[in-house]
C-alpha cells in the first residue's frame, strides 16, 4: 500500500486547508481555550493550597471537584487542541468509547479492591 501521507495529491491533508478568515476565527478559539485551561489550573492550585486534607465530606467533595475539573481540561485538550471535535463522529467514538469503558472499569475494580485490601490488612494486624 502506498503511504498516503507522502502522496502530493493527498485529498485528506489538502482538504484540511482553510482560508485566512477561517484561520483568524480558529486562532480566537485557541486563545479562548488557553484562557479557560489557565483559569481551571489556577483554581485547582489555589484549592490545593487552601484546603487541607482530612477525612471529611468537604474534602471528598473537593477531591471530586479536582477530578471533574481535570476531565473538563482533558475534554478541551482532546476536542479542541487535538481537533477530535472536528473529526467524523465514527472516529470520535472509536477513540473515546473503548478507552472510557476500559479505564472506568479498571479504576472501579482497582480502587474497590484497594480499599478491600486496606480493610483486610487492618483487621488481621
Amino acid at each position: 500500500m502506498e503511504r498516503d501521507d507522502l502522496i502530493v495529491n493527498d485529498s485528506y491533508a489538502l482538504n484540511a486547508h482553510h482560508s485566512e478568515e477561517a484561520g483568524a476565527k480558529i486562532r480566537r478559539n485557541i486563545w479562548k481555550v488557553t484562557g479557560i485551561l489557565t483559569i481551571l489550573t489556577t483554581v485547582e492550585v489555589l484549592m490545593g493550597i487552601y484546603f487541607k486534607r482530612s477525612e471529611t465530606f468537604t474534602w471528598s467533595m473537593i477531591k471530586w471537584t479536582f477530578i471533574v475539573l481535570t476531565l473538563v481540561k482533558a475534554a478541551y485538550i482532546v476536542l479542541v487542541f487535538m481537533h477530535l471535535g472536528d473529526e467524523r463522529s465514527n472516529l470520535k467514538k472509536v477513540i473515546l468509547a473503548p478507552y472510557m469503558l476500559f479505564i472506568g472499569y479498571l479504576l472501579f475494580i482497582a480502587i474497590t479492591e484497594g480499599f478491600g485490601h486496606f480493610g483486610l490488612s487492618n483487621s488481621f494486624h
Partner: protein, 326 residues
Amino acid sequence: MGGEASKAISKEILWGGGQSPFSVSYGKMMMWYFLVSDALTFGGLLTAYGFVRASSTDAWPIGEQVFRALPGLEGEYPLIYVALMTFILIVSSVTMVLAVEAGHRNNKSGVVRWLGLTIVGGFFFLGSQAWEWSHFIHGSGGSFLLAENVTVQSADGQTHELTKGDAVYMDHHFGHLAEPWLEGASNISLVENADGVKLIEVGEHSHEAALHGLTLNKYVENESQVEGAEALKLWNARSESFAFGANMHDNEYAIQQAYANFFFFITGFHGFHVFSGVVINIIIFIMAIKGVFERRKHYEMVEKVGLYWHFVDLVWVFVFTFFYLV
C-alpha cells in the same frame, strides 16, 4: 478545521471501500491508535498508583507538603512550582496548535515560528522536571524511624504518642551533616552534652549543626514541631533506619517505598515522552525549514506530531491531579 471530515457523506459511500471511512489519512489514524494504547499505559500506571495508595495502611504523603520549594528561594511555596510546570506545558501545547493552524494555511514562516517556540517550551519543561527530580532525590533534612514507643509534647502543647517505626524528621542543616556522619565520615563527630546534641565537622570548611528541633508528620496532615528536651527524647529513641531524600531503596517522604517508586516511574515515563516529543519536534522543525512540507503542499506531519505533543500535555494534566492534588 473542516475538510473531508465535515462533509456530509452517506454511510454507504463512506463504508463502501476505496476511501477512509473516518475521512482521515492512514498516518493520522495510526497516530490516534498509538495514542489510545499509550493512554491505556498511563491509565494503568495511575490506576496502580490508586490501588497501592488506597490499600496502604500508613499515611500517604500530601503533594502540597512534599512539593513546596522553589529554586533559589527559602521558605514554603506549596504546589507553585508544579503549577508553573503545568502552565509551561499548556503554553507549549498552545504554540503547537498555532503551528498546526499555520500549516493549514500553508504558512511556512508561521509553522517555523510556532514550532520553534514549542521546542523552547519543551526544553523549559524538561529543565523544570530535572530540578524537581534533583530536589526530590536530595530531600530536605531526612528522617529516621523510632526504635521504641515514645510520648512527647510538641511546641504547641499537644501530646503525641508515637509508636515504634514512626518517622521523625530532621531539619535541613542537621540532616546535611547527619548523612555523611552516618556513612562514617571521619571528620564529623557527634557531641552530646547538657546543652543538647551537635554534629561538628572539622576540615576545610568546618561548621556545626545543633539539633534544635525535630518535626512530626512533616509530609502528612497536622505537621508539628518538637523542641528542646522533648526532641532529645526522640533522638535517643532513634533506630538505625535513616532516610535522606529518595532513591530506589528508601525515601524520607513516606514509610512506603512505593511512593517514591511511583513518583520516579510515572513522572519519569512522562518525562521520557516529553523528551521524545521534543526530539520529534526538532526533526519536524528542520524539515519545515528545509521546505519538505512546502514541496509536499501540506503540513499534515506537523498535525500528527502535534497530536503526540498534546497527548503529552494531556497526560500531565492527569499526573498533576492524581499525584499532586488529590
